[in-house]
Symmetry: D2
Subunit: 475 residues, 4 copies
């Protein structure tokens, strides 16, 4: 489904490179391939070994750097960040990487994920006199590093990494070293690649193809990667690790050309579509997917079911830059800019519409309506993942159950609400099998399935009370 | 294939609406859905019945109207235009609609297509004292209207329409009437729709879905459509007509959700892929299409051949706005922004890569290389149209044979040049059958196939001498 | 007085240079020094001997060329234009230089002034089939040139120059020649300078100081200047000439560092202030001028009267770029951005406020009020020119008598309306003497004094009827 | 002299208003009148009583708020800041007001001035774990407040204000109170005004005229002003105070319409010019001043000497927005954009050129050259202040002696370097007398004269060692 439409937002993409004459430029291209992970803001910090320089602003990467700002970011190493888009809140202060000036050195910090104990840590730090300049969780790590007094930056960093809980893939840059760290559950993807002798780190492997890097290995849960003139060193900041890779990365967020834990995202989605065809076949004339993220699943469904796959829904590829939106009045007249149903394909046909997930249900309802207005005789909705019924606290922007239609209504009720002729979801086991159990001996094969079953792999800290109360309230 | 990559450019999209309180706004949304037909510039002219007001500028539609310029375009009728992108030449003067101020009235004019006798007409007009302010052919029509002295605008317009030769879909707007006219061969698509009592005219029917209009009928070759407060009137400016619908609209230009002559574009493409699988099957592991325009054909090829369809090539959907491009040095290191091969899908596989056409061959070569670098064991290229060997003089931006690889090399040679393991094209008959012969009793079922066989449906006038010389030179 | 405040607008500044490796760049700097003559739009056309290339847009020069557009304007010759600001009407089409494409050549045209027979010429040309693309008078000349068929461009141009009537300083550029022409009355200033072997032409001599050129001579009424690789040639397109130099150039429009007809503008203004002190002395504590244009006269008044000159009114020098204006409510609370009275200077004082002219009276009223609010005990207004009672048809944007307070009210009435303690104007003879009668044997010493006495130096053609009717109506 | 030319930069202007329905808008207009104090960046923070919201960016105020950003700044109170321009360094992070988020509240902070012990405080704070996100001194105050644990914000603030040393005018805003504080020497100007019941605070009184406020009183050294719903309360954070008002505010920085310590800036400058005429008369033909800041002194010089005052130098008032600068090559050809000498005024004349000060001498040299190129027979430079020989540590951007020509060369040598026929400076006593000894019983009548004589009114802390070493090195 369209990121612009769905209202389900990833929290960011990160990229870094050490020891390349065009470090900031390479970072730009790397971030460009990660733009789907965040469109609200972008930034890059580079170092020439002496100082850190950065530029960041609200907007798409291309706009942030359109007036030659890259030229100022000299040096052989750089890290960058693209930030997710939340409606309305335009806060330049939260655009990363953050740049902290210490007495004798500087630190740039970029973060993908969400901490579950940030509020508590922040309160403690503020009570000790810390001042926060942003409303972002990310700042907490810098204060924790600063307050650890082992006398050694790597040790300070490890101490800090053990205090933050939740989902985090961090990149840090000082004048002489680049660091990457992944939380003990490995919620968010993070991989290491190489261009000649230059190491790169990126949220997704698609960035490696873009910058001409070859894949080296994934960062593992609890690892701290240290890259400097001595080369690459891998340390562990904790031994207490397991894999809980965000299954929504496979289902919706990641680019289909990325591999996560060695599994290609497109292939996982296609398998989920095939499995869905087995679990929830319906006789129909055409199969169509909601672009972009559900295309792979729809292809799989068609292939397995033997029904023809068609482009029944078309996305306007120029929509990302539109500043003007139809007024309510015009929307009611049927004016729409993002998605069109293809009358020539669906008119008079029984349509299987494959989507990757249903969040609030409003978009699904709108798409079913689009198809019907274009003449579809029947619309059967098939979702290539289980009902999304539980919030995520590790880096996806859904934090209360009452936003989620599946936590409030049964599948039958949802079917009626969205106006479909039938609605079926993929089973939990079907999803796990389709993705492929990257770590077969770990729960759910190493995946986090909490959105579907509430089985959170960590304590929820700051969110615990409110979350339990919300469950209680529903009874 | 990607418009940004291919260097094969449509010449524009047009849209108009009569009698709607939000005429300029509706025109904006209509043009938005036609943006794929031109990204160099955009403009809208509206009328409130007393005066014509317009705004146009270089850039994407969204950028041209991003500072509230729509608010100034009051009135109940409007026409608009999006213009194609040519590398380098940024000429605001050529952005349409043009607005001509006559003594007692004004005229806005927008044009999709290319005239073959513009140079001659222009010379004649200049000799009579006319001054041209643009280098665009479009201006010619205004001068011709002005110089016809029948005393009746419609008659003057008909006289002028009979003087211009080639491919043209025109929209005109005066204070009290909107006009649309299509050349006697109907090279370019143009359709009429309706929102309640308001008539709309658009280059493609996809615009109707976007603005909530229902399809009424196509404009036929030689027709002049007159829309004003008396309603819609259809006249003919010539009886000497036949259908020569541009086959490249089906193959490459039009949006898959548009219908041309009642034939859905996606469906035509999918049929061409199926036919291609019959004509040029190759045993392989995966079928992949070059996004966006070749996806439908690739789906068809996969469906017919029984080979699995996969996303082996991914387009970066944020590429349209990128101002910064990798330096030559970085490109050689493999930095690329637009298209990625999906290693997880193609590694070790025999790949059938479906493309809609090959123009210069440089892009095909690059994509084959991308697939090989991502580990493809074999790359078999299949083209869902015949070799593109002849220039177009009716509205597509290829006007000399030596730009076209297929007019200089045999299929075997092209195969070697692009580095494919095998290369095959769809036959002419295969293409015509796949599109579906909308006018079965006319040559090629009503299609223009000149790019493939040099059988131009009109005299070439200004281009004749040079074209014949180029054929001669090749001998 | 402030151009931004006054609502009295010059119609443009022009600049050109032939045979300089940085022609477009020099033109940019030349126009920059002429920016006070027009802030609505700016443009430059250059030639490399083969083609003409141009860029123009709405806005200040610096904004129009802020994204490197100058780099595209290669070549050894260029002409440029800055256009006046009229409230509200933002019409890109009217921004000059205009660029006309003829069959075998091109023509760029820039104009400072106003024609009095443009309407008639336009109607005639349109009846012969000409199409106008702008609402600007300037286009008329191009059509006239085109329709003269002497077979020689210079002759065609001379024929055309004899058909247009009114005020005009034209610059023209073709691939091989630059032209400048001045109307037979020499209403608008136009001078020739030289940088080494490169000739420059500019509306004001201040541009010569800016670009490092030395003054050569003024262009004389009825002259056509032809500059090309053969050097500079001066021809006359008519012998029927006299000098009617716009006196408002001296009084208000021109920059104080410019010389017109050999007379320095600042010095002329200072003399007018001195004369005013003689003609209209008033005992007071301080003399102050309304910035910027009345400063010189105020200095003169102070020097002659022996009263101290003070900065009693301060202009905010950042006002030119302000997009936000105080709401009516805030204006009533006294919020103002452009001009401040200096309390520390005027409090408790009898103030002589010198202004160059009064147009509508609204601004004068506001400034008197500012001074009173800042504590001035008395405000005596002295105007360094006679009452402005007649419209201008030769290039200044006041074309009806009823806009002018002095054509509707007596001096005493105006004094009451603007709330001054006393008001006196410079006499006509005083003004002519102060400027200095550059051509002592011609009427008014070679000046146009029509704004003050209605003695228009040419027939009024298109304006005649309406103007006479307006005089009649007042009776 | 021109701020853009001179390279002598004020460090900022501040403005705040409490209890006005258009607080942010009023702040915008207030800052607009303070734009001369800083052109690098601007920002405003407002509060609606519940939260603080802010917007800030690099660029002129008008550009920072040109896209409707003011509309988001709701609420009844606001503070704002304009920041000085340093060449090259474009650092968004340093643009103020800073906005700090504490656990249960927020704090906005804006600062005009420079601390002399910031480095030490910063090091101490960092050792205690504080993290600084900017390289600005301003941040120190927030950390100091945070680390004082009296349990009462006002007390914490007073403790912090006693720790910072040097020059500071602070404005602070929380959800329920606005604060202003001035250092114990009162280096920087800060005044209180009133619009009806709404209090305003501004760096200069010119802002009061702009926003329609009446002057209430100056903030005195060591005062903390507290404005909230209980009204205005004045407290002292220290009793150890004296007046050391920056004399450069009178000489160069402040707007002529501002009053500082009850003394009008224009009047002080004019008196300095008169005194200069007494101390350093030279027979000549014309007196001219370097715009804008030296105009008043030049008027005074002319008035006292009896020589005529003329506009011999003209500033281009559109220069503030120019992005393109002449290349070195063109500058050598004499292309200049900012300042022009008026040939018609100076040619063949003996010119007295009045300037307020000489910093590096490069600009003076250029202006003398301009006058000579325009034909001046003699150029006598008279400076309306004593030689500027010592750096400032309290808020002006000159911190080393070797930047200052007067600390390295004698007056005779400077005269030769700048190419003048003669050069004289105003005496120290002359300056103090001219300004007028606002506090006659304090040293230098309450002025800081350290730039002229090295008599710094406070210890120099962090700067002491380096400064003493620089003095030593000169021996």
């Amino acid at each position: 489904m369209l990121a612009e439409v769905k209202g389900l937002n990833e929290e960011c993409g990160i990229f870094g490179i050490w020891d390349h004459p065009n470090a900031a430029e390479i970072t730009y291209y790397g971030l460009h391939s990660l733009q789907h992970r965040g469109q609200e803001g972008a930034g890059i910090v580079s170092t020439d070994g002496e100082t850190l320089k950065g530029h960041r602003n609200l907007g798409l990467l291309a706009d942030v750097f359109k007036h030659g700002e890259l030229d100022d970011l000299k040096g052989k190493a750089a890290i960058g960040h693209v930030r997710y888009a939340t409606a309305g809140q335009k806060n330049l202060g939260n655009v990363q990487p953050f740049l902290f000036h210490f007495h004798s050195s500087s630190l740039a910090l970029a973060h993908n994920g969400n901490l579950v104990n940030a509020k508590t840590l922040r309160r403690e730090l503020e009570e000790e006199g810390a001042i926060f300049q942003t409303s972002s969780d990310t700042e907490v790590l810098a204060h924790l590093i600063k307050r650890s007094h082992t006398g050694d930056f790597v040790e300070d960093l490890k101490v800090a990494l053990n205090k933050v809980k939740g989902g985090f893939a961090y990149m840090l840059l000082t004048e002489d070293t680049m660091y990457a760290a992944l939380d003990p559950n490995g919620f968010r993807p993070l991989s290491i690649g190489r261009i000649g002798d230059s190491y790169v780190v990126a949220s997704e492997t698609c960035a490696f193809e873009t910058v001409g890097a070859e894949f080296v290995r994934d960062v593992e849960p609890g690892e701290l990667i240290i890259i400097n003139n001595d080369g690459l060193r891998i340390e562990k900041f904790t031994e207490n690790v397991k894999h809980s890779i965000c299954s929504m990365e496979y289902i919706y967020f990641a680019r289909p050309d990325s591999n996560i834990a060695g599994i290609n995202v497109h292939s996982a989605r296609k398998r989920s579509g095939k499995r869905l065809a087995k679990e929830a076949f319906v006789d129909a004339d055409v199969v169509t997917g909601v672009p972009d993220s559900s295309i792979s699943a729809a292809i799989g469904y068609a292939e397995e079911s033997g029904l023809p796959y068609e482009l029944g829904l078309i996305k306007n590829r120029y929509v990302a830059r539109t500043f003007i939106q139809p007024s309510q009045e015009l929307r009611e007249q049927g004016v729409r800019m993002k998605l069109s149903a293809v009358r020539g394909v669906v008119e008079g046909k029984r349509v299987v519409m494959i989507d990757d997930s249903i969040v609030r249900g409003t978009t699904s309802k709108r798409i079913v309506q689009l198809l019907r207005e274009a003449g579809a005789a029947e619309v059967h909705v098939r979702i290539a993942s289980p009902p999304l019924a539980f919030p995520c606290f590790y880096g996806i922007d859904i934090q209360t159950r009452n936003e989620l239609i599946a936590s409030n209504y049964s599948v039958d009720e949802i079917c009626r609400i969205i106006g479909a002729d039938s609605l079926e979801y993929l089973s939990e086991e079907g999803l796990v099998d389709s993705i492929g159990r990257p770590y077969p001996n770990e729960p759910y094969g190493g995946l986090c399935m909490a959105y579907f079953n509430g089985d959170y792999p960590t304590p929820l800290y700051d969110y615990e009370a409110e979350y339990l109360a919300s469950l209680e309230a529903e009874k």
